[in-house]
Each structure stands twice: as structure tokens, then as C-alpha cells.
């Protein structure tokens, strides 16, 4: 795709003898919000780590801004990461720094901006997530939703081209969830960035995502726009989108026959 900012080509990744991904292909076009969905343990977060260069693929390649991530040396990977922002599942705020200092951290590390400009930029980023008034608080004084928003302000501190979100809705109340949904879309459009969201929250994601990939059994099981996937008749997608208890993903973990186990006293 011509305007793809991130491309995953024929990617396989495994560890401890287990192959987690088996020839995955994905494209993330510039300016779009793309979601990667799938059950727990399907390797969604691992895909983000592969894009960020924290892991190396067993086979295939990940291109970011036209460069192959795992072929870069440390300097090259750090150069690419300066174009990325990442929101971790629980925020990963630095607990020894205040909200203000957390957001200022990437600016202090990567720029020589004067303190007055850093102050203005930090307050602007915090204002964008609605937490300018919380700049003096410590991370321990924030609720889960607030911590996630501060982490988002920190992730966009250097106006990245790619913003990655790892389970941004996990453990949030409905109001915080709506706020985060709105912020993901509005910040993506305001910055002209590309957002990659790893999640299993169907309803929220389908409201604002442009394109969705479903990952199951190490491959892309389905892909399309939210509307296309809502109409999908593929059994896995149907079960996932409608939250059905049983289906291609069974309710029971593999076990011996129930009656026999009870009668024989076996487990």
C-alpha cells in the first residue's frame, strides 16, 4: 500500500518452541486508526512489541516508515522509536515523577527546549487530555482512567507519527472508556498520526476504528471495516463480535471426558 506507515509482511514469531504468529500480513495506512483484536493470549501485545523493535521476528519483516525494524542497530531502533508513542496497558507512569514531569520526560530526554517552552507544551498536552489541573499530582493519586490519560499525554509529547495503544480500555469505567475512545480518535486526527490499537473491547473499538484485524491461532482470521465485520458470517468473528460463550473458541479447556473423569476419580 502506497501510504502505509507500518507494514507487517509474512511475520512469524515464537518462543520456547511455541509459534505464536504464523505468517501474519498487516498494513497500517497513514492517518488511520487500525485495531488488532483477538482473544487473550493470541499475541496482540507481542505484535506491538515487534513493531516497536523490542522483539525480533523469527521470520518475515516489520517495516516502519520504510525501514525494516529488526535490521536496525540500537541507534536505528531508537531513531524509529522517536517517531512512535506507546500507551501501555496500565499507563506505566514513572511513579517517582509527578504528572507534569512524566509528560515532560520525553521532551527533556530528546530535546534541548528551554524550560518555559517545555512548560507550555506539557500544559498543552495535559489540556488535550483534560488533566491540566492535575499536573502537580503524583501517579499514585490518580484513578485508573486519569493515569491512562496522563500516559496518553506522555505518549504524544513529541507529536509521534505512530501511536500504539495496548489494551487502552482495560479496567476502565464507562465514562473513562468513552473519554479514551474520544481521545484516541481526536488526537489521531489532530496530529495526523496513525493509531494501532490492541484490544478485545468490540463495541468501543468499532465506534471509532477505520479498519480491524482479527488474530486467532497465529494468523489473521478476518479483517475489514467495523461494518463489514459486524455482518461477517465467519464463525470466529461472529462469536467474538457477539460475545457468544461457545463456538470455535470453546468454553472448556481441553480435558478428558467429564463423566469418565468423575466416575474414575481422575482429574
Amino acid at each position: 500500500m502506497a501510504n502505509a506507515i507500518v507494514e507487517i509482511q509474512d511475520l512469524s514469531f515464537g518462543y520456547k518452541g511455541r509459534l505464536l504468529h504464523k505468517g501474519i500480513n498487516m498494513t497500517f495506512p497513514k492517518g488511520k486508526v487500525v485495531a488488532i483484536m483477538g482473544g487473550s493470549g493470541s499475541g496482540k501485545t507481542t505484535l506491538l512489541r515487534l513493531i516497536g523493535g523490542q522483539l525480533k521476528p523469527t521470520k518475515g519483516r516489520v517495516n516502519v516508515c520504510g525501514e525494516v525494524v529488526h535490521e536496525q542497530d540500537r541507534e536505528g531502533i531508537y531513531r524509529l522509536r522517536r517517531k512512535m508513542g506507546m500507551l501501555f496497558q496500565h499507563g506505566a507512569l514513572f511513579t517517582d515523577l509527578s504528572v507534569y514531569e512524566n509528560v515532560a520526560f520525553p521532551m527533556r530526554e530528546h530535546t534541548n527546549l528551554p524550560e518555559s517552552m517545555i512548560r507550555d507544551l506539557v500544559l498543552m498536552k495535559l489540556n488535550a487530555v483534560g488533566l491540566r489541573g492535575a499536573h502537580a499530582l503524583m501517579p499514585t493519586e490518580l484513578s485508573g482512567g486519569m493515569a491512562r490519560r496522563v500516559a496518553l499525554a506522555r505518549a504524544i509529547a513529541l507529536d509521534p507519527s505512530i501511536i500504539m495503544y495496548d489494551e487502552p480500555f482495560a479496567g476502565l469505567d464507562p465514562i473513562s472508556m468513552a473519554v479514551i475512545c474520544d481521545l484516541i480518535r481526536s488526537l489521531n486526527d489532530a496530529l495526523g498520526a496513525t493509531s494501532i490499537i490492541v484490544t478485545h473491547d468490540v463495541e468501543e473499538t468499532f465506534q471509532f476504528a477505520d479498519y480491524v484485524y482479527f488474530v486467532a491461532d497465529g494468523v489473521v482470521a478476518a479483517e475489514g471495516t467495523p461494518d463489514e465485520l459486524r455482518q461477517s458470517e465467519l464463525p470466529f468473528v461472529h462469536q467474538f463480535v457477539h460475545g457468544e460463550k461457545d463456538g470455535p473458541v470453546p468454553f472448556h479447556y481441553a480435558a478428558p471426558e467429564y463423566h469418565a473423569s468423575l466416575l474414575r476419580g481422575a482429574r
Binding site: 523490542q54 531508537y78 522509536r81 512512535m84 506507546m86 501501555f88 506505566a92 511513579t95 520526560f105 520525553p106
Partner: protein, 264 residues
């Protein structure tokens, strides 16, 4: 059956040995990377100063109180033995040499491992468990340069200062027991100490020991935290290992260093 058990025992023993060697290598690698990344700690020295406060200044109370009691006990025990040979005036030298050469560096290092070492391991381990180190990596900031190296140099700076303070306060404790309490002559106490404690052989060697202990204790604490599995149990085990490994390392290194110092 017996053969099977022996095989399992040998396999377990082999795996344990391989794991220990692997950890030694990983620790050495982290030490080397820390040295390579140390430029950052010196360029932004306030990061190191901040850690000196956490590892050094906050350890002062336990170090100084312990030193005071150690000095007092040394004076009591020393007087009890020396008076049998009619040389109770040498109590000042005994207290000073014992503290400056051995007890100062060794006890300070053991207390440092228990107070500051465990705090370092728990902090780094929790930073790892809460993905703070990963977040730093994703922001293109090296955790070794930003987190590990400043703590390492803070430990290396703090340890000799703490050991020196330990010896000074220990001598003061010894003085209070020997002179006002027991009644040893004050002039003899200080003058014998002045005449028999050598600047280079005793004091500098003691400082050198504490620098080596500083490197060992801080690096062990940092490695255990950095290598800890990111779980509550993992951090807890790593913290325990910090105390055990640091204590054994300090005692082992003390023997080696003392052997070299006496031989020279």
C-alpha cells in the same frame, strides 16, 4: 528406579550450575553495559546526586547507630582482654584498627546491602513489573543509562563515605566507653591511636575495601532487580537474593582483599 533418581538429581544439579553460570554472565554483561552508559550519569550528575540521597543519606541513621554500638562493644571487649596483659592503654589503637581496617567497611557493606540494596532491587523490580522500564525503552531512552548507571555510581560514592563515618562514630563510641566510663587515660587513648594507625596501610586500604564493596553490593542489587521476574513473588525472591548474595560477596571479597593487603 535408583538410576532414574540419580539421573534426575544430576539433571537438576546440572541445570542449577548452568543457571548460576548464566546469571554470572548476565550480571557481568549488565556491569559492562553500565560502565559504557556511565557518561550519562556524569553529564547529568543531578540524577546521581538524587540517588546518593536515597542510598546514602537515608542509610545514615542505621549506619551511625550501629557504628556507635559496635565501637562501644569493641572497647568493652578490648579492655577486658588487654587489661589481662597490662596494656589497657592500647585500647584506642585496637578500636581504631579494628574499625578502620575491617569492621567499618564490612559492617557498613552488610548494613548497606540490607537497607539500600534491598530498596534498589525492589524499586527496579517493580519498575520492571509495572512496565516503566519498557515504557522508557519505547521512548528511546536507555533504562541502563537513565536508571541503572546513576544508582550504580551513587552506591559506589556512598559506600566509602558511609564506611568512613562508621569508623569515626565507632571510635567515638569506643572513646566514650574507654575513657569516661572505664577510666582509661585520655591522652594514651588518642596518642597511641595517632602513633599506630597508618594513613596508607590502614585508612586508605579500608577506603579501598569499601569502594570494592560498594561496586559489588550495588551491582548485585541492580542486577537482581533488573533480572527479577515481573511478579510479586519474583521481586520478593530477588530482594532476598540481594541480601544473601551481597553478604557472601562482601565476606568473600574481604578475605581476598585482606590477603593481598597483608602480602603487599
Amino acid at each position: 528406579m535408583v538410576l532414574h533418581k540419580i539421573k534426575r538429581l544430576l539433571t537438576k544439579l546440572g541445570a542449577g550450575c548452568v543457571n548460576k553460570i548464566w546469571r554470572l554472565g548476565a550480571g557481568g554483561r549488565l556491569f559492562w553495559l553500565t560502565l559504557l552508559s556511565s557518561g550519562e550519569s556524569f553529564r547529568r550528575f543531578r540524577l546521581t546526586i538524587r540517588e546518593v540521597y536515597f542510598t546514602g543519606v537515608l542509610s545514615l541513621i542505621i549506619i551511625l547507630v550501629s557504628a556507635f554500638f559496635v565501637g562501644m562493644v569493641l572497647a568493652l571487649q578490648g579492655y577486658h582482654t588487654l587489661q589481662k596483659y597490662g596494656s589497657s592503654e592500647a585500647i584506642g589503637v585496637l578500636v581504631a584498627l579494628a574499625l578502620v581496617r575491617e569492621l567499618g567497611p564490612v559492617v557498613t557493606a552488610l548494613l548497606f546491602a540490607g537497607r539500600a540494596g534491598t530498596a534498589i532491587t525492589a524499586e527496579i523490580g517493580l519498575m520492571k513489573a509495572t512496565e516503566q522500564l519498557s515504557a522508557m525503552e519505547m521512548m528511546a531512552v536507555s533504562p541502563i543509562a537513565r536508571v541503572i548507571a546513576p544508582r550504580f555510581w551513587a552506591g559506589v560514592i556512598a559506600m566509602p563515605v558511609l564506611a568512613t563515618l562508621f569508623s569515626m562514630v565507632g571510635i567515638l563510641g569506643g572513646y566514650l566507653v574507654a575513657v569516661p566510663l572505664i577510666g582509661v587515660d585520655e591522652g594514651a587513648f588518642w596518642s597511641q591511636m595517632q602513633a599506630n594507625v597508618d594513613w596508607e596501610y590502614d585508612i586508605l586500604n579500608g577506603v579501598l575495601k569499601s569502594v570494592v564493596f560498594g561496586v559489588a553490593c550495588t551491582m548485585i542489587a541492580l542486577f537482581e532487580g533488573y533480572d527479577a521476574p515481573p511478579t510479586a513473588e519474583g521481586v520478593s525472591r530477588a530482594t532476598t537474593r540481594t541480601v544473601v548474595t551481597s553478604s557472601l560477596a562482601v565476606l568473600g571479597l574481604d578475605f581476598i582483599l585482606t590477603s593481598f593487603m597483608i602480602a603487599m
